[in-house]
């Protein structure tokens, strides 16, 4: 069977760039195959997808060598418009992927562009809406949709013409974990039922490896590994530890093989070794009750804080929360639980409608998009020199802030909120790891550990919460439902638990692969449950 996507010796350089974005990339994707593209930021994942969609070089320009063939169409002869008939494409940002005012029009747009008759367009819209479960959204205006809904609609527009391959560039990076997982499950279903080949670039490999047939790892524009998920994880253990999933790291450190592509695989292997017992899986522990803390000396204190919308619901409902000086706290909870609102109250962007919020000094707030802080033409104009030096950006003061990498931008935004004449008593961060690879997340965690100020991080990422905070506060419907040490809050749950804790079923309260591996090694050596 001829491949639905074939890249042969593709080398590409963006206009004005110093180096090649792709170097001699050769890759075949068979019909119905599910391929995950992995790699650190700027490794070339997006460029591979753009080359397959014909945007490289037709839209971006630059220098292109080699050959890219999509469903028999050579991209040197066919542009993105022609390729759209056989390849659906989905980008990261849901907001810039809707071009029409309603969902129905959005789904119809690619079909009309292809000149389908009206009846076929109407049928195509109905079918794709049903397939993706968005039929209830059909007459909704696109500006009213949530990020997750908008991304599903964009996926619908990409799939409406029943393409033979769908190319997805980190489609879950702007979504919360639930919406992200749903999107990946949806892709698997479409892949199985329609036989559509999927090429998915993704940072959170643990989210998609279970569904993948193959993993292609890119490093500096070249293919470094092309193997089945388990083999790719084994390769990553040796060559690219930052790409390892927590479960794979747990296995590598415990000396177990093969590296698991999913929690289910991991548990099956451990069960085979007699290391876990499904009957003994811990039930989620009772939520630790918040200890009564004195708010007088606190870095930040919420005292029975409410936030009620005029004519709407209450976002915060009597929150009592005390953060001690130097303490690091992770705020977790599903979307709409009140995490962002709580942080905005802390920084004084919002005022409680009842109760009060007190801080011992200035509260710095780093919002979700670090780029929103950058308004000058020069890095050196954005923050004081000392603050830039503290985040390791002293060497780039003359560069334009928009030319920095994602991780550098975040460090710059951190320097902006940490700078100023008065050092903050508390630093709040709202979802700081969205769209970040594991290496950049690790850097950020280290940087936060080095601060003297109290730190409050709102995050959906349990691994990052454990890396940063010693205390976890769980919010639901504007109320604190659990408040305690990370080990107690994040070890026995299902959703609010690290991957290690899910693999081990809460065994010994291990949260990190290192802790879990130690427990497993002890068990392997002694045969005694720790």
């Amino acid at each position: 069977m001829s491949p639905v996507l074939s890249l042969q010796g593709v080398t590409y350089r963006y206009p004005g760039a110093d180096g090649d974005a792709l170097r001699d990339v050769s890759l075949d994707v068979a019909p119905g195959e599910f391929v995950v593209l992995a790699g650190l930021s700027a490794s070339g994942k997006s460029t591979v997808l753009r080359a397959a969609a014909g945007l490289v070089p037709h839209f971006h320009g630059g220098t292109f060598a080699g050959r890219a063939v999509v469903a028999g169409m050579d991209t040197r002869e066919h542009g993105p418009g022609d390729l759209a008939a056989v390849a659906g494409t989905l980008f990261q940002d849901p907001e810039t992927q809707s071009v029409m005012a309603t969902v129905r029009a959005e789904l119809a747009f690619p079909l009309e562009n292809r000149g389908w008759p009206a009846g076929a367009v109407a049928r195509g819209v109905e079918e794709v809406a049903l397939a993706l479960g968005i039929e209830a959204l059909l007459d909704r205006p696109t500006p009213e949709l949530s990020g997750g809904e908008l991304q599903r609609v964009a996926l619908g527009a990409a799939l409406a013409g029943r393409p033979r391959i769908v190319l997805l560039d980190e489609p879950t990076s702007q979504l919360d974990p639930v919406a992200g997982d749903e999107l990946v499950w949806l892709l698997r279903r479409l892949n199985e039922e329609w036989g559509t080949a999927v090429v998915l670039a993704e940072h959170r490999l643990e989210r998609c490896l279970a569904h993948a047939d193959r993993v292609v790892v890119l490093d500096d524009g070249a293919i470094a590994c092309d193997a089945a998920p388990s083999d790719a994880l084994a390769w990553a253990a040796e060559r690219a530890p930052a790409l390892q999933t927590p479960a794979a790291r747990l296995f590598a450190r415990a000396g177990l093989r093969p590296p698991p592509a999913s929690v289910r695989d991991a548990r099956a292997t451990l069960r085979g070794h007699g290391l876990i017992d499904d009957d003994a899986v811990a039930v989620p522990p009772a939520a630790p009750a918040a200890k009564r803390r004195r708010s007088r000396d606190a870095a930040l204190a919420f005292e029975h804080a409410w936030h009620e919308l005029r004519g709407g619901r209450a976002i915060l409902r009597g929150v009592d929360l005390v953060v001690e000086p130097g303490e690091r706290v992770a705020l977790m909870g599903r979307n709409g639980a009140g995490k962002s609102t709580l942080l905005r109250h802390a920084a004084g962007l919002l005022a409680p409608t009842r109760g009060r919020v007190r801080a011992r000094g200035r509260v710095g707030l780093l919002l979700q998009s670090p780029g929103d802080y950058l308004v000058h033409e020069r890095v050196g104009d954005e923050a004081p020199a000392a603050a830039l030096a503290a985040v390791g950006l002293a060497g780039v003061v003359d560069r334009h802030p928009r030319d920095l990498s994602g991780g550098q931008r975040q460090r710059l935004a951190l320097a902006i909120v940490m700078g100023g004449s008065e050092a903050p008593a508390c630093l709040c961060l709202d979802e700081p790891t969205r769209g970040m690879d594991r290496a950049v997340k690790g850097e950020l965690a280290d940087r936060l550990h080095a601060l003297d100020a109290a730190v409050v991080v709102a995050t959906h990422d349990p691994e990052f919460a454990v890396a940063v905070a010693e205390r976890v506060v769980l919010l639901a419907d504007g109320r604190v439902i659990a408040d305690g040490p990370a080990r107690e809050v994040l070890s026995g749950g299902w959703y609010f638990a690290t991957e290690t804790a899910r693999v081990l079923g809460g065994l010994g309260g291990a949260l990190t692969p290192e802790e879990g591996a130690e427990l497993l090694r002890d068990k392997l050596v002694t045969g005694v449950a720790p």
Binding site: G81, F91, T96, Q97, V99, S369, G420
Partner: protein, 288 residues
């Protein structure tokens, strides 16, 4: 911006709704009888309330009233016509000898009334007529122009949200980049980001096959009761407009300050209200 509600105007085809709104706005803009113009304005607000967008359309007054006040002032200061002087301001450069007349004041008020009525109908149009539906109709005439117009309007809410986020981030800066400097910084950042946003949207268009698009297919389908009611009402509004211009009770404050005949004005105003609001009475088949 279009707001989705359960109303006959929302439920109708965009072309029918657009023709209806254009007919109403035209009537409000060209008929000189103040009572009829007032009725056109009242009809717009009543219609907006019945369509569930009363608050949004009332918001148009925030723009139209200050504009009207400016127009009245300019008219009174600039226009030299009229005999009933109510204030002599003497020599005022650059206007020269300024005598303020009641006729110019009334004429200015009449212009203001036209502005308020037309803007109210325009606001109803913007809130109740689905732009995608209009685009469908317009695309058959000029596909690329229609799409460019839609994209321009699509970028507005995206950039508005960007501006809100930028402004919030500026408030988080310890150097307090608030005030005029902060606003300038936000505007500059949004303008810079607009290019990136436009490029992203352009890339999306490319991968949706826009570059190879031909003339879109004609959509056929039965007209709903609301389509027919709005088209009939639009035709009736056009007829009223023609009658009002050709034979109706007109009004020129410079020729005669006293109001036109009350009977025929009232009759015409009642007709305007009845024709404009009648299509809103039928609430069948308007569910979201």
């Amino acid at each position: 911006m279009f707001v989705r509600r359960a109303s006959p105007l929302h439920a109708a085809r965009a072309t029918a709704g657009a023709l209806f709104c254009i007919a109403g706005a035209t009537l409000g803009g060209v008929v000189s009888n103040p009572m009829v113009t007032l009725a056109v304005g009242v009809a717009a607000f009543a219609m907006a309330a019945s369509c569930g967008v009363g608050r949004e359309v009332a918001g148009s007054l925030r723009l139209s009233i200050p504009l009207s006040v400016v127009l009245v002032i300019i008219n009174v200061l600039v226009v030299r016509r009229g005999l009933t002087v109510f204030a002599r301001l003497g020599e005022i450069p650059p206007f020269g000898q300024v005598d303020l007349t009641v006729e110019a004041l009334v004429a200015g008020g009449l212009v203001a009334l036209h502005v308020i009525a037309v803007m109210a109908w325009a606001s109803v149009f913007a809130r109740c007529v689905n732009p995608d539906g209009l685009l469908d109709a317009f695309r058959r005439l000029s596909f690329r122009s229609a799409l460019s117009a839609t994209l321009a309007t699509r970028l507005v809410p995206v950039l508005t949200r960007d501006a809100e986020r930028f402004a919030e981030a500026q408030r988080c800066r310890p150097d307090g980049a608030g005030g005029a400097r902060g606003r300038v910084a936000v505007v500059r950042a949004v303008a810079t980001g607009a290019l990136d946003r436009a490029l992203d949207v352009a890339a999306t268009l490319e991968v949706r096959g826009y570059a190879v698009a031909g003339r879109p297919p004609r959509r056929r389908g039965a007209r709903s009761r609301h389509d027919l009611a709005l088209l009939a009402a639009a035709a009736a509004l056009v007829a009223i407009t023609v009658y009002a211009i050709a034979a109706g009770p007109g009004y020129d404050p410079y020729a005669r300050l006293s109001p036109p005949a009350a009977g025929s004005s009232l009759l015409l105003s009642a007709a305007v209200l009845a024709v404009s609001l009648a299509p809103m009475a039928d609430r069948r088949g308007i569910d979201l």
